[in-house]
Amino acid sequence: MKLFFKEHILLIFVQLLQFIIILSILWLDGHQQFSTALYAFFIGCFFLSCYLFYHYYSRKKFYNRLSMTLTSLDESFKKTDETPISEALDQLLRDQYKLYQNQLKTLEKQQNEHLKFMDQWVHQMKTPLSVIELTAQNLDEPDSSNIREETERMKNGLNTVLYMARLRSFEQDFHIKPVTLSSLVHEVNQDNKRFYIRNHVFPKLENRKDGITVESDEKWLFFIVTQLIHNAVKYSNGKNSIVITIYESGEEAVLEVTDFGVGIPEVDKKRIFDPFYTGENGRKFRESTGMGLYLTKEAADRLGHRIELDTKVEEGTSFRIIFSSSQNLTNM
């Protein structure tokens, strides 16, 4: 309505001006009859308003549509009405929609190709890595250990890439089932024993209650725990143990990874879960990508687990994965 008035205000003004001019010409010409003049004026107004009313009602949808904002791309496909101007508008929107769609499709295709390539590439890199590792086993110490340390690091990097790619298709890539926390931790430790040994940090497992079982995806939980352990070991800074505790707090099950190392400065605490954020510690210690905790947090969020942390500079950090009471199957 408002738009319609704005659009036609000039027309109304010009019409009124025209009436007055015509009437005054006639008036000055000597036809000085007030009632006739008034009558003619009303007739003029009547036709003008008839036109305006018709115009408004036949294009009501059109004006409504113009003053509304689009909320989704698909809405631009809606038909307005039959008048020529509305049809022109529809056509314009359809063309725009098509152009945008095309562009989006190409970009999407490019991105998918890139992801597929990355995935393939990561898998291809594993064979050369195996060759290097096997060859290194036959070398003299300490070269043998040094080379294997580097291949291990590459292996971890490749795994992070894979998990990063998988996070995008998380919905198709998880399988919820009961997981016994203590055996999961054993497996993770077994998998990382060389990493512990190399860093001279050794884990202690404190299992406060036997058989704590939670509902989760084993593969992702394995990844999350591995990341937390890697961080704990990396930032242990000379202390040679970390403690992994499994316990129940109220109805909830908790897996806690505690180190006694450098701790996280207060300023960094809020942002450690941001992607690519490395913080002060990341700059001091090498091989920080800023992706580990981001992926951990993302995966935990999607599985519905909470992550909490306590930290004090120079005293250590503990990360807790908290499984809600409905995910805790221990007492069932």
């Binding site: 195996s130 110490e141 024993k193």
Partner: protein
């Protein structure tokens, strides 16, 4: 002697696996013509097959199905693919086990042994007991005993592991990290001291056999076997 066939198109991995596995007393063949894998299979009639998934022309699943048409020998897949679906596919197509790259040779050996045991029985066609020998010093890792001249000493699992690594690596140094990794078992985790304690015990065992200074410490690297005795039993 069990025969093992390796079907892997990366020749370096195949070579490394061949040399490693044959150290344990198996006869190893590896396929070179990937168009006619079944011919080589017939020719060698192996007791166990290690199979890659990504191969030229047909993939590993296909060859596994071909093998299954005529043989029930264990088939272990070795692949870089780690997806759950790939493992399911491998097992559904007749595979018995799945190892992902990059793999640990010890895991490969353990799986080979376990599958041979399961398929052919512990004692049937027994490969002779493994013995490591160095100048008259004999280690029997499976019964955890060591013999030198007339004297035999029994060992704990950890001591046997350490001596096995030392003899295996001789004349090179057995790395500290490797030794610790070997001592790490499922239930109890090791720490820095575990290795020192066990090396001391191993030295004592050697003294019982009448051998002095058999284990030499190499700073910053690990330990090396020092052959200070001779075949004749002289120290």
């Amino acid at each position: 002697m069990h025969k093992i066939l390796i079907i892997e198109d990366d020749s370096k991995i195949a070579d490394l696996l061949t040399s490693h596995i044959s150290k344990y007393g198996y006869q190893v063949y590896h396929v070179t013509d990937f168009e006619h894998i079944m011919d080589e299979f017939h020719q060698h009639s192996p007791d166990l097959v290690l199979l890659d998934i990504n191969l030229p022309s047909f993939d590993g699943y296909y060859w596994c199905r071909q093998i299954r048409k005529e043989s029930i020998c264990p088939v272990i897949f070795i692949s870089a693919r780690i997806g759950e679906m790939d493992q399911v596919m491998a097992l559904e197509n007749g595979g018995d086990d799945f190892i992902t790259k990059p793999f640990h040779t010890e895991i490969v050996m353990a799986k080979i042994r376990s599958h041979l045991r399961r398929a052919y029985g512990e004692y049937a066609k027994q490969t002779e007991e493994r013995v490591l020998e160095r100048e008259g010093l004999k280690l029997y890792p499976e019964r955890m005993e060591i013999t030198f001249g007339p004297i035999t000493a029994s060992l704990t699992k950890k001591e046997a592991d350490i001596i096995e690594s030392l003899m295996d690596r001789y004349p090179r140094v057995a790395g500290r990290e490797d030794l610790l990794e070997k001592l790490w078992d499922d239930q109890t985790y090791v720490d820095e001291n575990t290795l020192n304690v066990n090396i001391t015990r191993v030295r004592k065992k050697f003294l019982e056999l009448g051998i002095k200074d058999a284990v030499e410490t190499v700073r910053g690297a690990g330990y090396r076997l020092n052959v200070s005795w001779t075949e004749a039993g002289e120290v």
